[in-house]
Amino acid sequence: MDNTKVILGPFDVALEEPVYFKIEPNSDGKTIKMVDMINGFVHRGIESIVLQRNFLQNLIITEKVCALCSNNHPFTYCMAVEKIAGLSLPERALYLRVVADEIKRIASHLFNLGMLAHLIHNKALMTQFLEAREDFQDLKESIWGNRMDLSANTIGGVKFDLDATLIASIQTTLDKNKSKIEAFIALFETDATLITRLRGVGVLGYEDALRLGVVGPVARASGVNNDVRKRSPYAAYDQLSFDVVLQQDGDVLSRAKVRLYEILESMKLLHQALDALPTGDVVLPTRTLIPEGEAISRTEAPRGELVYYLKTNGTQKPERMKWRVPTYMNWEALKVMMPNNNIDDVALIFNSIDPCISCTER
């Protein structure tokens, strides 16, 4: 097996996004000795494009950076603009931002779990995950008119409002799916076949997770609490109660369980936010010119911490805008997770960091 390299990619490793794995196998020819990645297939230079657009146009550009975290990009970007302009938002807008974000999080986690089921060839389970997700897709469509890009945020508030019918439809969807999620959790906690297949695969220990600075469910599955919603609360999260889900094993199974339990926490958050939804405006009534300044903001996207830095110079276009997406921090962790696992499991481990490549490369 000397000098054999296994090449995976650049297309269709786990998802329809391009990354190129160069795998050096151990002498048995079946397990991984070392892995290297080549990225950059979907680098679009968006950080340069945003400098040529004004602050409102950039709402649309940031929403297009990623599909699954599409709500968090304009959300975090708005937070940075609002900090520079010194805007304080209506309470109702802060709660509605939480509602949009948590619905997106549930749908995103269910999609990732569906892909996991697909990669272990459990098509029945995959169907169940995607069916549950479909309810949330429908919900998004009925509230925002779109299944992926919600266009929920704007500078100074949100672009949508919820009436009694929509609130009831969210509550119905949550109630209908809660027992399904609990059944999935029971499956992942007790089903011997599933556990044998996923336990001990792609392990990232606590120390490595700290050292690499990984974020989101990947960090929390290794026992590291980086949840921005708790550590550095924004919007209405400091007024709502929820638990950060932590697991200790750091394997594919733990990451799946973190996502499953987090869906329940998101449901809890949604119920609270809807019950306590303040009355009033959903957006500030006047538009503001954005003064010179700089700000940094961050939110907890479904994949983890999303950071935006914005520098303005008094014109209505950014002077510099930079963001770092959650997956960006989790790539290097693959080099720790993959060695000594089966080559067959590359896609499974890769999927477990919930990769977003169009996000990472921008």
Partner: protein
């Protein structure tokens, strides 16, 4: 926030580093123009178990400014470094979390990262010269996945040279 702010500035005073953090909004900011000081600050933050969230670079007149964004216990610390010679010491030996973001600013702004353990390109093809942000490139030539006549002629040329 206040206690961390005070604790941090006390530590900097004790070590006589000649810089301090100011609170601005919900995060702390510090401006420096000495690269040695950056490494000293990084070492202190590393012992406090901070992590690197991101590094922003931008052109300022003829020089560059780099903003290092650290997370310390949920607080964002921003260290702004002013550089004039397009080179900066790497903090990746101290913070593995800085690896990618240093390589990215290096290829986009042509800033040399000294002492980086893995200094290869991150996203951009080797054929593209550094400091890409100051020039116009068509999308298909900027991405590694170029699917064009240019790629095809490179494949054919390589084929020719392999066959000698």
């Amino acid at each position: 926030m206040k206690s961390l702010h005070v604790k941090l500035n006390d530590a900097l005073n004790t070590l006589k580093l000649g810089c301090h953090f100011n609170a601005q909004g919900d995060s702390l900011w510090c401006e420096i123009d000495d690269k040695k000081l950056l490494l000293q600050l990084a070492e202190i933050l590393q012992t406090m178990n901070a992590r690197v969230c991101m590094i922003t670079a931008y052109q300022k007149d003829e020089a560059h400014e780099l903003v290092y964004h650290f997370d310390l216990d949920g607080m964002m610390l921003n260290v702004k470094l002013y550089i004039t010679d397009k080179s900066v010491p790497s903090i990746t030996p101290l913070f593995k979390s800085a690896d990618w973001t240093e390589r990215e600013l290096s290829e986009i702004y042509g800033i040399a990262i000294l002492n980086h353990p893995n200094p290869k390109r991150l996203f951009l093809d080797e054929a593209i010269k550094e400091a890409v942000l100051s020039e116009y490139y068509s999308l298909s030539s900027a991405m590694s996945g170029k699917v064009s006549q240019a790629l095809w002629s490179r494949v054919k040329a390589a084929e020719g040279s392999n066959r000698g």
